[in-house]
Amino acid sequence: MRRLKLEPWLLILPVVVLLLVGFVLPVASVLLSGFTTPGGGWTIENFTRFFESAFHTGAAMRSLRMALVQTAVVLLISLPLAYAMSRASAKVQAFMMIAIVLPVMTSVVVRSFGWVILIGPAGPLADIPGFLELSKSRQGLLGTELGVNIAMVQVLVPFAVLSILGVLNGVDRRLEEASRTMGASFGRTAWSVVFPLAIPGAIAGGTLAFAMSISSFITPNLIGGAQIPVLAAIIYTDATTNLNWPFAAAQSLLMLIVVLVTIGLTAKLSARR
């Protein structure tokens, strides 16, 4: 009987080793470096500097706000989309799946540049009167939060759709049919029966979208640029341009805490159900 108890541990051993060496140790060393000076001593100066800088705290608040807005919009789009997919014929579902997954296979840089063209001053929308004035520098939606949000939503929707689709595919269609025969219209059935059952998928998809959104810097950089500084982009600049690794590490730790708290809250939320 001892063998039986040992086997599960043996099975997860490779993953544990991989995670430990490839993830936990590097991340821990980066995060620890947030408490060091460039000279090598211990300090909390990196954190005090962050909280005393209005630029940094402002960027952090903007990141949080944008991540929340994007997550909300992503869920609003993904729920009906995933529902339509789950109830489409196998053929249509396969086609939609390709349409959803294909953009994910394209580099996020390429997609962001696509948006730059589409919503920029040389794009097809520029002829609409007043469009260019949407940004202070007459660049259309470039350099605006709205522009970043639109492009980010497009990046995030596939992940949320796939999470929700997985749950909805497991919901018995008889439930909807039963609801219809009891006097509920299609809309009320979706609202009272289908969406409540999709909540676990929405929580998973929403958490994923939030974590990806708050830590993304490519799309915000390309579309928002210097006018819309977000925390992840600042960390990137601090690490690669300013070469201030300890400060970048300190900011990363703060962002990680926000994400972990969010995941903790949503996990608690889904456990209650």
Binding site: D172, L175, E177, A178, R180, T181, M182, G183, F186, L197
Partner: protein, 350 residues
Amino acid sequence: MAELIISSVRKSFGETEVLKGIDISVPSGTFVSLLGASGCGKSTLLRCIAGLETTSGGSITVGGQDVTDLAPEKRGLSMMFQSYALFPHMTVLDNVRFPLRMQGKRYGNRAKQKELAKQALDQVRMGDFASRLPRELSGGQQQRVALARAIAGEPRVLLLDEPLSNLDARLREEMQVELIELQRVLGLTTVFVTHDQDEAMSLSDQVVLMRDGVVEQAGTPEELYRRPRTPFAADFLGAANLLDVSVEIDNSRATAVLAGGDTVPVRTSNSGAATLVLRQEKVRIGDPLSTDDSVVTATVVSRVFRGGEVQYLVEYQGAMLRVVANGESMLSAGDQVELSWSSSDALVLS
């Protein structure tokens, strides 16, 4: 409660025609079973009535209102599924309140709806389980809740899709009794889909036997059992022994010639090839009771002891017949026996 009239309803899925012109009329307050083997179209017909499938032709009328092209929620019916289809995220009470909530003002405010839902639960003796979730109930209990939910919204017609087939035999019999009592008390027009002929016969006012998308025969259970119009109907309702015979009529006396050359008197006015139908319980094994009885000799093939009775499979000229004898009968395979029946119990279908 309302009368349900189905007239020349057709349904095709692509090239396949599943319903080939069905006519059924269900008088208000009656219990009708759609009986048939799987794939005969009975469930599709039920789904057409509910509005979950669109028909390819014909019309469906409920209480004088043509509902053929109406959305399911506007038909005022309710349907109970084989899998019960209880909403897993709602309590038992909220499940039963669902049809009331969806029909809105008609059932008053939240408190009033809850009271009515509670009453429906009490009717199926599930009142004590109101605050439970469906997954916390046994199959039989879930089924009662599904029934309560189906009747709570006072449907004009109650549609039941094999609701008892997931229950064990004992619970099933219990539920049959309760279902029929509830249906009578509420005067519900009910359409019940089943593949089980015993269930159809014991519950229904009318049985509609379906086969390959058409109505094979419709009538009261007694009519279908005593006067089946086709060998299929005879065999489907209560196991019957079917023998190929040829009928000769001489001076208005009909005689059937069996495969072995035996002749037996029958009641028919058509001569020629026909099928002789013998219900297993009408065939006696051993000495004939009366000299007028038809008698043939057969060979015992197998014996199955069922407590109160013994079922024998016997061979007569290449045909296998099922006959029952009382529990003390001790014949064994290979024994030659005499089978006898009264000519009035032998049915001839030409």
